[in-house]
């Protein structure tokens, strides 16, 4: 679809440069890239996520200039950033809030892909690369949360690394290897710091592949109908650059609200208590973006099976393109799938809330029901619905759909005018 750019630099220096390294024609290809003209605001989250990644990289590199990765000094150095470093409080709050914003954006981005069937052929690789980015993000977020060395940092690290002790036979050796000792301690903090610095650059690498894989088939769109002709598309610039920029500014206003008015709302107060290896806080929970998986872990009474279910809940996303048997991409034309989709969204929210509550009584029952639906949705409902559902008629092209909508709108306003 993209094909070779016809762009030819006019300036002789640009011409000379571009002949040896075609950066300019590549950039030009990006700017003129044909995008479906019916993309809605849910399609702006790719750009928003890129901005999130850049914010985390810049604030993170700055924070490392003031942070000390040692168990005796880590907590104090974070307080030093908060109290002494010029604008340290701002930079740290942007980084900490930024992690949550990053996950809000990625969850919207993923649910958009699920709703509009963006993972279906020819975009399976694009989806799989996205799942890899998501897993890298979770690893980076987890290790970053350990660095301030508060109570929740320490016990979060201990519980999550202990998940690997469930592996038969070699589990304990693996956990000792991860810790570099007999408990979470200074060697653990040091290596988490090293990996927390590495992972964002790995994410950058996979993002480049993700964008590359996007530029082969081009964007999916709300109708799920493939682009048929030039009539269906507009160039990326200025149409999508403007739309993305507007959405990004709106997103950043919400971001700024949390940074300036509720910087600790998404965290846990107990993490302002220094880590104590001998006392576990009464109620330990992970950051909100892991809660649904934490609920799945706790809903299974067996240790190994709980860990298998938790990792399985993420791994199943890799197989989504083949679990969904329907040839129709967009849920707009899939009446049955659409209902199960919204049930799935509610299920994820419910699992998240159950994960934040003690694993007993009604919350344990809700978490178990939620876990059952989570796996039923992927492993039973998606394959079956695709076979039994009769989708609604789809428009012949994106253009036809846009024109029909416009005609309907014009009709409505004409009717209103006539009243």
């Amino acid at each position: 679809m993209s094909g070779h750019s016809t762009y030819q630099p006019k300036n002789p220096v640009a011409k000379w440069f571009d002949a040896q390294l075609p950066l300019l024609s590549t950039a030009n290809e990006f700017m003129t890239f044909p995008t479906p003209k019916n993309l809605n605001y849910l399609w702006t989250f790719g750009g928003i996520l890129t901005i999130c990644l850049v914010i985390q990289l810049i604030t993170g590199i700055v924070l490392v200039m003031h942070y000390t990765p040692h168990t005796s000094m880590a907590f104090d150095s974070v307080e030093h950033i908060m109290r002494d470093v010029n604008y340290g409080w701002l930079i740290r709050y942007v980084h900490a809030t930024g992690a949550s914003m990053f996950f809000i954006a990625v969850y919207i981005h993923m649910l958009r892909g699920l709703y509009y069937g963006s993972y279906k052929a020819p975009r399976e690789i694009l989806w799989i690369l996205g799942v890899i980015i998501y897993i890298l993000m979770m690893a980076a977020g987890f290790m970053g949360y350990v660095l301030p060395w508060g109570q929740m940092s320490f016990w979060g690290a201990k519980v999550i690394t202990n998940l690997f002790s469930a592996i038969p036979f070699v589990g304990d050796a693996v956990v000792t290897w991860l810790w570099g000792g007999f408990s979470v301690d200074n060697p653990t903090l040091n290596r988490f710091f090293s990996l927390h610095y590495l992972l964002p650059f790995m994410i950058v690498g996979v993002v480049i592949l993700h964008v590359w894989a996007l530029h082969i088939p081009g964007n999916n769109n709300p109708t799920g109908v493939s682009v048929k002709s030039g009539q269906d598309t507009v160039p990326f610039h200025p149409y999508m650059t403007m739309k993305d920029a507007f959405a990004a500014i709106c997103f950043l206003i919400v971001f700024a609200f949390f940074v300036f008015y509720q910087p600790n709302y998404l965290g846990h107060p107990i993490n302002y208590v220094p880590a104590d290896p001998l006392v576990t806080p009464a109620h330990i929970v992970p950051e909100w973006y892991y809660l649904p998986f934490y609920a799945i872990l706790r809903s299974v009474p067996d240790k190994l099976m709980g860990v298998v279910a938790m990792f399985g809940a993420i791994i199943v996303l890799f197989f989504l393109p083949w679990l969904d048997t329907s040839k129709v991409r967009s849920a707009v034309y899939r009446p049955i799938f659409k209902q199960f989709f919204w049930l799935f969204v509610i299920d994820c929210l419910l699992l998240g809330y159950a994960g934040s509550q003690p694993a007993e009584g009604i919350w344990l029952i809700i978490a178990r029901a939620g876990t059952a639906y989570y796996f039923l949705f992927f492993l039973v409902i998606l394959p079956l619905v695709g076979l039994i559902e009769s989708p609604r008629p789809r428009p012949a092209s994106i253009s036809e759909d846009v024109l029909a909508k416009n005609a309907r709108k014009a009709g409505d306003s004409a009717a209103q005018a006539a009243e």
Partner: protein
């Protein structure tokens, strides 16, 4: 062999196999130091024993000490607690193995096998929940022993798992009496 004619093997095949064999061996040998550097280092292993005087611990009192970065519970058990623990039928124990480093690996989880003979008042064990590593709370839970607040595991007065997601009993570390009241752990 008829199919392995001399013409089939030449210098290129030899170089291909030789390069592959040496390259793979070299890669494996290079990978190992990079993997093993993450295992506990000499300074971590050097801290592997600690001594403790049990005389000041009153009956019914527990103390927690730090051994290799982990809490070790030492409890001076009351007669009632010992009695409770001894009276449990073996078939009610989810984990029937003593998990005592001072015993055979398959020793049954009787109360006698969880302590040192003649010193049954003192229960010494690593205070790390065998589920996901939290520190259980003492004098709590449905079996008068320990209760883990993270995911709700209940341990009895012998530190044996009775209810909840933890798979095994709290482990008893290698320890011995170096005098009548003084123990050395590790």
């Amino acid at each position: 062999m008829a199919t392995m004619d001399k013409d089939d093997t030449n210098r290129r095949d030899f170089l291909y196999i030789a390069t592959g064999a040496v390259g793979l061996t070299g890669a494996a040998l290079t990978a190992w130091p990079l993997i093993d550097q993450m295992n506990p280092d000499a300074s971590v292993k050097a801290l592997s024993s600690v001594e403790m005087d049990l005389a000041p611990i009153e009956e019914g009192q527990s103390v927690t000490i730090n051994w290799r970065g982990n809490p070790v519970f030492i409890r001076h058990r009351t007669a009632k607690e010992i009695e409770e623990s001894k009276s449990v039928p073996m078939d009610q124990l989810p984990d029937p193995i003593a998990r005592n480093e001072n015993m055979a690996a398959d020793a049954p989880a009787t109360d006698e096998n969880r302590v040192i003979d003649g010193k049954e008042k003192f229960l010494v064990m690593i205070g790390v929940c065998t589920h996901l590593g939290c520190v259980p709370i003492g004098d709590a839970g449905e079996y008068d022993g320990w209760f883990c607040p993270c995911h709700g595991s209940h341990y009895d007065t012998s530190g044996r798992i009775r209810k909840g997601p933890a798979p095994t009993n709290l482990p008893v570390p290698l320890y011995s009496y170096i005098s009548d009241t003084r123990i050395k752990i590790g």
